[in-house]
Subunit: 659 residues, 2 copies
């Protein structure tokens, strides 16, 4: 047994393997909720260049809830529109576009492009803000034991790992093996290239490392160690092509616009980026199959020169060249999905470790981070004794399904890049492809941008309770994200998006859409609900003091937020019942607890159309529980207090009162 042989092992509640985007997202929750955790990564440094770059709106909303979206917006590049270039009737390339998403007002944010290296930086900074948790770099797990017998004992540490710090020679730098910078970066780029906040990490790396081995026992293990080692073994995955981040020198008109260019030589994907960079996904294998009669490549057969020549061929008659290449690599299609993402609700896998696909759909980093975000808060709250272990199974239920959709999307889209049909005439091939491309993008848009999640019924998603009694027509669907709206703070008139108001601090939010409180009837409804929350209603215990806290983090896992629909000027903060104003003996009133859905003359985004967007009656309002990850868990009328408590009872652990 593991127990006996490793008597001297150290313990941690949660061990995270892999400090890429999904691992860091998971680690964020541990830091934020004060959970005892460790995170290791085999590489000696974080990523600085290359890798993923696509950021979908739902991911940006998550960043906002953590508190660093303003940094992404400052550095990143917006890509809302797309252009598809294909040969016209006379065989020369013609622009078809721009095609713009019809959903540009569904989120405070728009799809963006920014290097994975910067995203890792931002999450690391957020982790530092809340705890001393640091990534242990150049460390691998060498052996693993799992004691299934104690899996149901919440106090047991069923997982035993042997961790080893790698020697100087063993560590894997982030950018190597079949990838790299192909040209030296000239001096003039250095200023803009160099982020001072990343520089410190590079210096850190140069410190000499000490090789050591250690035994660690953990309650939960979360594997976020990426696809690389795993897919490397899958020798039958063909290489698809090359991807390259360059500063282009070209007269192609749309090199700074998202889109594709298709001709007889294949299709390339053009992705404009921050700091003059453009990323190109370029088919290399497809064409060379015919030439060599050999569908297999090894990584080293693809070179930046080869990629450049292919781009030049496809962009003809436009010219194309570059002097600065920040990063490049060969990539594979490799569509894979693990049959399950979890074992016994003790071991979880997230991100590329469980699903891989073509990088071209611009979803990989998003799916991985959202995996990590999803499993992170659940494991953190369970480890902290706040949430019931019953919620852990929702991770696989919610995310596996989405990974399947991702692969479906990828199959549809990748086909259009690789299935080149060179036998067919060029003009038809080109426009066919464009039409199909648009059709696929439109079909999968909600899914891809993360506007829809399709989370099914579970202890965390109450789908049917009281559905018949609800106002018909509202758009607040349990299992979907809370539709973001910019609201006005009653106390001081400042405006904020709900994505930021519902900060990712580990708490569930009881959101009271209080309606028009100027109306006496409606005010009475709100007062009654408030008496319930204050514990003043007979035979109904308040949910606010009912569940376990995390000392030093929050007093209750439920945060009450009110958003009324009356005019800002005709309402006062002190009009609302005390319980909604969250008095603290030291910090005073919770001035950020009462919000108003009214227009603000100095902020166009705050337009007073929140209730409309939510489809909620401005007089009667509604009540809902939003999960710590901003997905709706439960919806009901202001009177549905028992039903709400029942939902919360299913997710949270009640305080044990001594009798």
């Amino acid at each position: 047994m593991a127990e006996a042989s490793y008597a001297s092992a150290s313990q941690t509640d949660v061990l995270i393997i892999g400090a890429g985007p999904s691992g860091l997202m998971t680690a964020y929750w541990m830091a934020r909720c004060g959970v005892r955790a460790r995170i290791i990564d085999k590489k000696s440094t974080k990523v600085f260049t290359g890798q993923a770059d696509g950021l979908r709106v739902r991911t940006l909303e998550i960043f906002d809830s953590i508190g660093f979206q303003h940094r992404v917006q400052h550095e990143g590049h917006v890509a809302v529109e797309a252009n598809f270039w294909a040969p016209g009737p006379d065989g020369t390339l013609i622009r078809q576009g721009p095609f713009c998403s019809s959903k540009v007002n569904e989120s405070p944010f728009h799809n963006m492009l920014l290097s994975q290296g910067r995203i890792e930086r931002f999450i690391l900074d957020s982790i530092k803000q809340y705890s001393n948790l640091e990534v242990e770099r150049g460390v691998i797990a060498e052996s693993f034991e799992y004691d299934e017998i104690v899996k149901d004992d919440q106090n047991a540490y069923p997982i035993t790992l042997k961790l080893r710090t790698l020697s100087e020679d063993e560590v894997t730098p982030s950018n190597n093996s079949g990838e790299g910078r192909s040209h030296s970066v000239p001096d003039k780029l250095k200023d803009s290239d160099l982020h001072p906040d990343d520089l410190d990490d590079l210096i850190q790396d140069s410190k000499s490392r000490q090789t050591k081995t250690e035994i660690v026992k953990a309650k939960y293990l979360i594997g976020c160690d990426g696809a690389h080692s795993w897919t490397r073994k899958q020798v039958d995955i063909p290489l698809e092509g090359g991807v390259i981040d360059i500063i282009p020198i070209t007269d192609f008109p749309d090199i700074r616009r998202l889109g594709t260019v298709t001709n007889a030589s294949g299709t390339i994907l053009v992705i404009p980026r921050e700091r003059r960079l453009v990323r190109l996904y370029v088919p290399v294998q497809v064409v060379d199959v015919a030439k060599n009669g050999n569908a297999r490549f090894n990584r080293s057969s693809i070179t930046p020169e080869m990629i450049k020549e292919r781009v030049q061929a496809i962009l003809k008659p436009y010219t194309f060249d570059y002097k600065v290449c920040e990063w490049w690599t060969a990539y594979q299609i490799g569509q894979r999905i693990a049959p399950t993402f979890a074992k016994d609700d003790r071991i979880f896998l997230a991100g590329d470790a469980v699903h891989t696909h073509s990088p071209k759909v611009g979803l990989g980093m998003n799916m991985s981070m959202q995996d990590g975000f999803n499993v992170g808060w659940k494991v953190a709250l369970v480890a902290a004794g706040v949430a019931s272990p019953a919620i852990l199974s929702t991770y696989n239920a919610e995310r596996h399904h989405l990974a399947e959709m991702l692969l479906d999307f990828d199959r549809h889209l990748s086909g259009l890049f690789t299935d080149n049909k060179p036998s067919k005439g060029i003009p038809e091939g080109g426009s066919d492809k464009t039409e199909n491309m648009i059709k696929v993008l439109e079909t999968f848009e909600d899914f891809a941008d993360g506007l829809k999640a399709f989370y099914g019924a579970s202890p965390l998603v109450c789908k049917f309770v009281n559905e018949d009694k609800l106002n018909p027509g509202h758009h607040l669907v349990p299992g979907e994200r809370f539709p973001p709206v910019k609201l006005r703070k009653q106390a001081d008139g400042n405006t904020q998006w709900t994505t930021r108001i519902f900060e990712s601090d580990g708490r569930f939010r009881l959101v009271i859409l209080a309606g028009d409180v100027r109306n006496e009837m409606q005010k009475h409804r709100v007062d009654t609900l408030s008496r319930f929350l204050s514990g003043q209603l007979k035979e109904k215990a308040s949910p606010l003091s009912r569940y376990n806290a995390i000392p030093g983090r929050f007093k209750s896992p439920i945060d009450v937020v009110t958003a009324h629909s009356a005019s800002w000027k005709e309402t006062e903060f002190f009009d609302f019942p005390e319980i909604l104003r969250d008095l603290d003996a030291t910090l005073g009133w919770g001035y950020d607890k009462i919000w108003c859905d009214d227009a603000c003359i100095w902020d166009r985004d705050c337009d007073g159309k929140g209730y409309e967007k939510w489809g909620v009656d401005r007089m009667r309002g509604l009540m809902l529980v939003v999960r710590p990850d901003q997905y709706i868990g439960w919806v009901g009328e202001l009177e549905h207090m028992d039903e709400m408590t029942r939902y919360l009872d299913g997710a949270l652990i009640k305080v044990v009162t001594e009798e």
Copy 2:
């Protein structure tokens, strides 16, 4: 002579004394332009709490041009509206408001409140991004010699200073002497209170320091060492009252709204802030004059307890208390202005060192930073050999006048706080005050927010050339700031405010408002101008290669930016002449050089109304030179090439060509 006695002296081009907001602003320019400079400060650390907090829109625009406004916006509190509380007919306090500025759409930003400590952090980070210039803390200038004889020799170092590093016992911590935290900060505040990026500086401070003395010779000296040491000697300045940053516990409805509360006991100013903080300016002396018959206080006679009691008296019948006090101090009116801000264009004074006033107008930090911003780029460009020393005299001309306006504003406003007329009836006194307050604020609004600068004619401001030929009615006034507009990048459709496009990198901007380039006549005008800029027009040398560069920073001190008025979709980046597209052999085309004043469906701020805001004809356009600080230097038609060159010749130094 200094020359002889200090043969072993080290040299620096620019020495800045004082690392408060104005000194740091000046230092930013040295860092950005690669000028050899040093900056010293007598205190051992930067400011962390308290001090100034008001940020006016023009200051925020400057932050945007440097690149950190997104951080201010993330952390700060917006204060656009104000409420004035005064006794109503029955003698009880009544709210009069909210009064909202009518100018909320004149800038991308709105007046905000955020601690000076955070602002210093952001400027320090920007300095670090561009150079190794570091603040030498705990260092004072002990002696000063100035060799007037060589003042006109640009290669001479007429200034000699003796610098001394203070010992541990001598250094002045930032927050002490008659101010401080009055209560210990409870644990629960610490998380939000603690900025990890500031923490490093605190740790830095604990390193042991070595006392040493050093002789430094400088070409230019910029004194930004604040009012403190200077005003301390002015024993006849009466204390006005107390200022305190607290987390309030009160039932006063507008504690989170900017405004005043007036009753028979006096007037307090309420300033809501970041992190639950509220700042209160409280008259203490005024009332106690009557009680003691003594108009003089020493600092130590004012205590937080005294301030609290005064607030409680004025806010009656509302309750007021607090548990957390982050900072407090006594403050003085001390309206002073130095007769001149400069000597021989070699020594400059900026900020509180040359003008002091009541802190309540919320302008001090703004004026100081704008002083530093103004003198900084001028000295930097002259020291770098790019600009003519003739521009240096514009510093005093431009800023002294504004300091006088500041004192005028302060006198008007402060009078309303201190002149209490307790003999008059309460109701009249209250409403009179409110009316006067609003009148003063309205009168000075443009000045206070920095929307108008009133800079007079000078080598940097060409007021009259060709004014008669200009389109009548345009709002682009030399000597005023370029009115900010959000534009769309032609190449990639991304949107940006001109405050960010015109980055503070030390270059003048030739802004070509190219009009509607779909029109053949207009296109011809733009082509002719472009041929001039390319040096292809006979007998007209292009200004682009005419002036000195700063190696490693910029090739030309003139950056060409085009903003046309045609439809974004009907125009192509490559439609514009090559010279406007700024080709670089390594970095390719300057995709960020061509902008479009057209609406963007996914960004409401980009509304295509720029030309309208500027008052410029959408067909014919206009041409202007914007100074490195975003003030307009020169305006003319596209044909006024000679006039433009003449303006630039007056400010910049021509390249010496070998014959």
